[in-house]
Symmetry: D2
Subunit: 267 residues, 4 copies
Amino acid sequence: MNIVVWNENVHETRGDETVREHYPDGIHAVVAAGLEARLAPGADGADGSHPAHGQHASTHTVTTATLQEPEHGLTEERLADTDVLFWWGHIAHDQVADEVVERVVRHVHAGMGLVVLHSGHYSKPFTRLMGTTCSLKWRNDGERELVWTIAPEHPIAAGVPHPIVIDRQEMYGEYFDIPRPDEEVFLSTFAGGEVFRSGVAYRRGLGKVFYFSPGDQEYPVYHHPDIQRVLANAAQWAAPTGPRRQLTADPHPRDWFTDEGARRQGV
Amino acid sequence: MNIVVWNENVHETRGDETVREHYPDGIHAVVAAGLEARLAPGADGADGSHPAHGQHASTHTVTTATLQEPEHGLTEERLADTDVLFWWGHIAHDQVADEVVERVVRHVHAGMGLVVLHSGHYSKPFTRLMGTTCSLKWRNDGERELVWTIAPEHPIAAGVPHPIVIDRQEMYGEYFDIPRPDEEVFLSTFAGGEVFRSGVAYRRGLGKVFYFSPGDQEYPVYHHPDIQRVLANAAQWAAPTGPRRQLTADPHPRDWFTDEGARRQGV
Amino acid sequence: MNIVVWNENVHETRGDETVREHYPDGIHAVVAAGLEARLAPGADGADGSHPAHGQHASTHTVTTATLQEPEHGLTEERLADTDVLFWWGHIAHDQVADEVVERVVRHVHAGMGLVVLHSGHYSKPFTRLMGTTCSLKWRNDGERELVWTIAPEHPIAAGVPHPIVIDRQEMYGEYFDIPRPDEEVFLSTFAGGEVFRSGVAYRRGLGKVFYFSPGDQEYPVYHHPDIQRVLANAAQWAAPTGPRRQLTADPHPRDWFTDEGARRQGV
Amino acid sequence: MNIVVWNENVHETRGDETVREHYPDGIHAVVAAGLEARLAPGADGADGSHPAHGQHASTHTVTTATLQEPEHGLTEERLADTDVLFWWGHIAHDQVADEVVERVVRHVHAGMGLVVLHSGHYSKPFTRLMGTTCSLKWRNDGERELVWTIAPEHPIAAGVPHPIVIDRQEMYGEYFDIPRPDEEVFLSTFAGGEVFRSGVAYRRGLGKVFYFSPGDQEYPVYHHPDIQRVLANAAQWAAPTGPRRQLTADPHPRDWFTDEGARRQGV
């Protein structure tokens, strides 16, 4: 499985103090390191999970890409070879080239997994794939967030405590203007009383999309072992189950499906 | 309730023979007339429905708009006053101005209902709101379509036979690349053996979206009384339940909701 | 619309102090009075809702029934004439006769609406209709509950503030073992930090089921005007759209549907 | 993974001719053999699937159980050791002891997977878990069934042609009175024109339930390699992701979750 962690990397490169303190090499570096650690063979990722259903022994590659690279580091070649793309953006959504956004969306439709993090709710790829405004309420008050599992059998919740406790975090609150999720995995509450659908899953074409809200640039959330566990689970869940394939509208003559070859080409 | 029936009106204006035969004044004229007839007070729309839950006695206005009008007939003022917009398009999707598309999408997010018809599956407003390719299989062979109700308690299926029989129609077949519907109301089968999710409902922001596939320019489907019944039901279902409102991402100070006025502003 | 409010009426009849203080004539009396008031023509139920889409002018009848009556007040005749049944139970679930439970479930399948309140999550009709354990976490600490709308276009949320504030209430927390809801309308948070899916909607056969958790015997929750608004909305939402009808498995000869009469019999 | 294939085994033991022809050792024997073959390491189960995401190398055990055995072969000990239970029943649903049904349902709630086949739609475990009548339309005319994939990214559809062609099969048609599925994987059409939601997935408690309609006692459907592929996929999908666990309603003191041990106990 090839994972690419994309970060706009603007808070970091312009030198925001708090961000550099928690993420001296960028948020992407910490997210990637967490994935590496949790997906490594023998990693402590399966506490609570059934012994008979351990992790795949397959190898994983985790690399990073940023806004500042040519084509934002997301060339056609690279996306074609990416199984799951993680996306972190906040203050530079507008700087992401539409051409790259179309490319990302096209690869999701063709089967690539996408995990959108925190303020990425307003990113171009996510709003394109959702079709809603993705607006929400917010407050940056460094308050406690509790992440509750409401789909205990879901693979993204495997090995995760109930609730995950994040001591300090930005508040994201409802109404969160997203389509009704295909699967709701987590709900978050905040010390101030608000609630948020913090872990939601969708299918878009042949690709899977997971949005996970915990993780702000001002708090060390991506160093949290339970959050890393969620991200590793999400990567495994979002990985494609078949080859990349463009979906098109084609005429089909009557009885086309009596030919086995035609049937085997897939939907 | 103000209903606007939009039609690209290209098959008609360029003089396609079959279309002009079935729809001499345009597809929009027949759809609008059907809505007028079925939504009129006392209309025979409630066969099979509970006597205690008859139709609203409210008045309805049905008007039409086409691609050829300035701003395609969909100005800001007009959309602001539209409760439900019907959309028929086929060969001129690309000619719809992006600015008008954004306007339509914005009004759906703010509460306007949208009913997308047949080949409108590939229209700009629909694909924007879905976030998928909306591709499908097709064959124009004039074959029988049966429309089966799988949500018998759904208001869009009220008074509709099981199945609706359409003698001649274009085939639309799965895989139909749409997001998992919030509600599936109808499934269609075709004489050739294919199946299609022909009546599917979604929420997008504060607006409701219904896609209904029966209805091709080469067949007189919109003259069919059961199809007209579905469209009238869809108009009533899609009508907004509250005032038009833009959803935005706003900061909220701690305990903002202890103020009743703030709570009453809505989500 | 005929509404029946059912209550086990055991806390009240055995003389629990707090219950009698808030509900001297029983919880059912207050629920029924609230429904009467909110469903009355001209009632202030539409604040925030679109002027064009006011309430039906139809008349409503609200009566009550209790465990202590013969057949618990739920005879075949009475259920046949009930559009929506409200259910409140807590410590006497086991005393409800299986025969009556089967009758209630059968009428829901045939189209009757059912609104299950608070501790009714463990009632026989609800667990039968859900097929899960319906277990949850709880704490009776008289703490603040906030009820957040996450389906702002849903009719059950019409005219409801965001959030509803309940000053003192029992805590119900996740994991709530229910099937994935067809529609999630409300999420609740509690002062202690827990979260709960407090307003969830399902279809079962031809009937609609709504579960709403706010409302404990020790707190005056059913006197709360916003809670009464939710219950009145739920009654309107759950009301059947067609005549009561038993669903059965029947053989159908080939081409049965070419007969219009057969088609018109419904699904 | 331990799989148990349960069969009422009544058509076979009473000597129905056609059944004995296709299934001389019982339907369960053929279903079990198909699972064995398709789940074996190196089995041709992944055509079309991504090379990086092959099958688990874990070992599988497939055994059978029938109505005629003591406790129908489904003792507490055996179910406790069963990961996925397959269920085939038709004319003897009533002969299944309620105690055994309760046991099966309890194990599903606690995490056991359940795959219900064909006429099992009317079995006690399935109707208990669904909460609906599970009624449908039917006709035994030996007509062609086409099984179309509408969730191409779903693991149960991996390696399956589009459509699967079954030359002769009993017709099952809508309206199928089931709860709205969590996931719809397959839709079937029949030569006579009917449609059926033939592959639907649910969560019930910690357990997963899949219903798959193809497979009648009078036709050799379970010998069909594509059908065997679906059943093998369903077994892998339905397998629990964590240890068996009873869900109960417990009081939780304020701040219980500040104790890590309490959080780690799971939902």
